[in-house]
């Protein structure tokens, strides 16, 4: 019977299947960080259990870590305890860890791909919803809770109910200045934050095929913002080329065997998806969110919507609340909105290509006096690469702050936060109330829009310069 890509990967990982029970699914890679693992290790200790496969497990520090003065002890004692707890657990259970200061430290979803331990056809989990990022390689990758982290540590499996499949087709050539971030923001605006609920989304079509691995990761990363369990893209030559040069790529005969398998990882031509949705690349534009969930977005040339014109009662109420929180008036052009802070980074847009794209816009320009800009590489490796290319100098000359790697201002947990009422243009993934700091106001944008906004001080695209 013909299968979708997600169904093929699923079938290859079923350890045990029984009528009336969830499938027991094998997990090829388990990524760990400090925030969602401590209670899981505690659970293991209480039950006298071991980590079944330390060699399929890797830990890094990202959510709760500072991006300044990383040579000093973490100032907040509660944060320090959490990071120290991860280090102790890694040592006790024999798990590889990349700690603050290590060249491989960084956001867990940037570290996996750059080490080459993210490969096509794998099942990958992490106690973090943006694990969907790894789907860009044609892996089935999804976020889990702490109970499931403990389950994977103990058994290297998870009992799971097979999700439904959704195809999102994007065809055509993207207009100048329109990036992977704009594509995914437009998709979420169309299908809503619950539109993908219960599905694995496969992104297909010529627009997706033409994207770099970084762009594909940006798209898959935000699948969760549409409510999807995972997002994935069939692997192709772009994928193989990216993996080949990485430290943990298969070698010699293993490489040949791997590629032979990876080439089978495509949805069959007659495979049936539960839902299919199509987008035309030519109709897409730079996108920005105006509200407090990632589905509340519009093209940058649009104006703040008028809730009174929204027919759905539930959506109207949500829009009214969002405008109040965001301090915005209906009808105001989005491009007239002044921002205070630009955040370039995160697992969505903190990779080398994102930094290059922003630097190309900023080079030789000066930052608007009214804004501050944080540039936070997704990993220490990305930071080193950027410095080799001289990008750090471009950012510093522009007037931005060049930080160390981590989740930083994406989530309001570490010292990098918005103040009450402060407004950001952020390349991250969530514009929830308080997400970047209590009372902070977030507009989600692409690295190109972030850069242009830093120059003008108002939401802008490079075309406005």
């Amino acid at each position: 019977m013909s299968k979708t890509l997600a169904e093929k990967i699923w079938a290859d990982h079923v350890v045990r299947s029984a009528e009336g029970e969830p499938d027991l699914v094998y997990i090829d890679l388990h990524l760990i960080h400090e925030v969602t693992s401590a209670q899981a290790f505690d659970g293991l200790r209480l039950a006298g259990r071991q980590v079944r496969r330390p060699d399929l497990t890797i830990a890094t520090e990202d959510h709760n870590t500072p991006t300044l003065n990383i040579n000093l002890p973490i100032a907040d004692p509660v944060s320090k305890l959490q990071v120290d707890t991860l280090r102790q657990n890694a040592a006790e259970f024999g798990i590889r860890i990349h700690s603050l200061g290590d060249a491989e430290q960084g956001i867990v979803h940037v570290v996996g791909p750059q080490l080459g331990i993210t490969q096509p056809g794998m099942t990958i989990v992490c106690g973090d919803s943006h694990t969907s990022t790894h789907g860009a390689f044609g892996a089935l990758a999804f976020g889990i809770g702490t109970s499931e982290v403990e389950h994977v540590l103990a058994t290297q499996t998870l009992p799971l109910v097979r999700p439904k499949t959704m195809a999102i087709n994007v065809d055509g050539v993207l207009p100048e200045g329109v990036t992977a971030k704009d594509v995914i923001l437009a998709i979420i605006a169309k299908i809503g934050t619950g539109g993908g609920q219960g599905y694995v989304i496969e992104y297909r079509g010529s627009t997706i095929r033409a994207l770099s691995m970084e762009g594909r990761m940006t798209i898959c990363n935000m699948s969760i913002e549409a409510g999807a369990r995972a997002g994935l893209i069939a692997p192709d030559e772009t994928t193989f080329e990216y993996v080949k040069s990485k430290p943990h790529a298969p070698q010699g005969a293993d490489w040949d065997a791997a590629v032979e398998y990876w080439k089978t990882l495509q949805s069959d031509a007659d495979a049936k998806f539960d839902v299919e949705i199509s987008f035309k690349a030519e109709e897409l534009a730079p996108f920005v969110t105006w509200g407090t969930n990632p589905g509340q977005g519009l093209p940058l040339n649009a104006s703040v919507p008028n809730p009174a014109e929204i027919a759905d009662v539930e959506e109207r109420g949500a829009a009214e609340r969002a405008l109040t929180y965001m301090g915005l008036e209906a009808g105001v052009p989005l491009k007239s909105i002044k921002v205070d802070t630009i955040f370039l980074g995160s697992c969505t847009n903190g990779r080398i290509e994102d930094l290059r794209a922003a630097a190309a816009v900023l080079k030789g320009k000066k930052k608007a006096d009214s804004v501050r800009m944080l540039v936070v590489p997704g990993s220490a490796r990305v930071r080193l690469q950027a410095e080799q290319e001289g990008l750090d100098k471009v950012f510093i000359d522009f007037g931005a702050e060049w930080r160390n790697a981590g989740c930083s201002m994406c989530l309001g947990m570490n010292p990098d936060q918005l103040a009450v009422g402060e407004r950001s243009a952020s390349t991250s993934n969530r514009n929830f109330e308080g997400r970047q700091g209590k009372g902070g106001r977030t507009h989600l944008v692409s690295p190109l829009v972030a850069a242009a906004t830093a120059i003008r001080g108002t939401l802008s695209s490079p075309a406005d310069l």
Binding site: L29, V35, T155
Partner: protein
């Protein structure tokens, strides 16, 4: 895990949609390394508002949360489930839950009940009319009862059995650990390992 068979208490109406897990518990509260004490972070940004429904005296002691559509979206943090449980909630009712939140809740014994939106609104109306209304969430009978109303709900038999028995998933999986070993022995050699480290 504590068994869940049936629960009777009072309910609190949360008339908001898209309540993401950052609202349920903001990231600044996620630094603890225990599973307890998260009740002070529950809906932290909204708790400062005396008008917020959890602050209203008539809803004190409620154990069932009745929320709008798309409850628990966003971050995978299980702390959201712990915060609701630490506060005293035994069940949450909504017309749609985010996948990861729902998975977490059912692992941890917080019963998430999916009812059609019209039933959710009916419950909101009834408990707002009389906040002392007793509500029963009956997993054995698979229904929610209050006043003369009975709203049936669905839950797969396996999860229902596991919750009613109070069984933890790891123990169940370990009964089949031989199947895991057999699977591992057939895994292809090209699959990556994190150890020994290469860089």
């Amino acid at each position: 895990m504590e068994k869940f068979i049936t629960h009777t208490g009072t309910a609190v109406p949360l008339r908001r949609s898209n309540v993401d897990t950052d609202q349920i518990i903001p990231a600044v509260y996620l630094k603890r390394v225990t599973k307890s004490g998260f009740e002070d972070g529950l809906f932290a940004a909204w708790r400062n508002d005396p008008e917020f429904v959890l602050n209203q005296p008539q809803y004190q002691g409620a154990t069932v949360l009745v929320a709008g559509v798309d409850f628990g979206t966003g971050s995978s943090r299980e702390h959201a489930v712990w915060a609701l449980q630490n506060y005293g909630f035994k069940a949450v009712i909504s017309s749609r839950f985010a996948d990861i939140f729902r998975g977490n809740s059912l692992k941890g014994g917080l019963l998430t009940v999916i009812l059609p939106q019209e039933n959710v609104e009916k419950i909101w109306d009834l408990i707002e009319a009389d906040p002392t209304t007793s509500i029963t969430v009956d997993l054995e009978a698979k229904n929610v009862r209050l006043g003369s109303e009975v709203f049936p709900f669905e839950l797969d038999d396996y999860t229902r059995w596991r919750l009613m028995e109070g069984l933890d998933d790891i123990g169940l999986t370990l009964k089949n650990i031989d199947a895991v070993s057999a699977y591992e022995s057939a895994r292809p050699a090209y699959k990556p390992k994190t150890l020994p480290a290469r860089s």
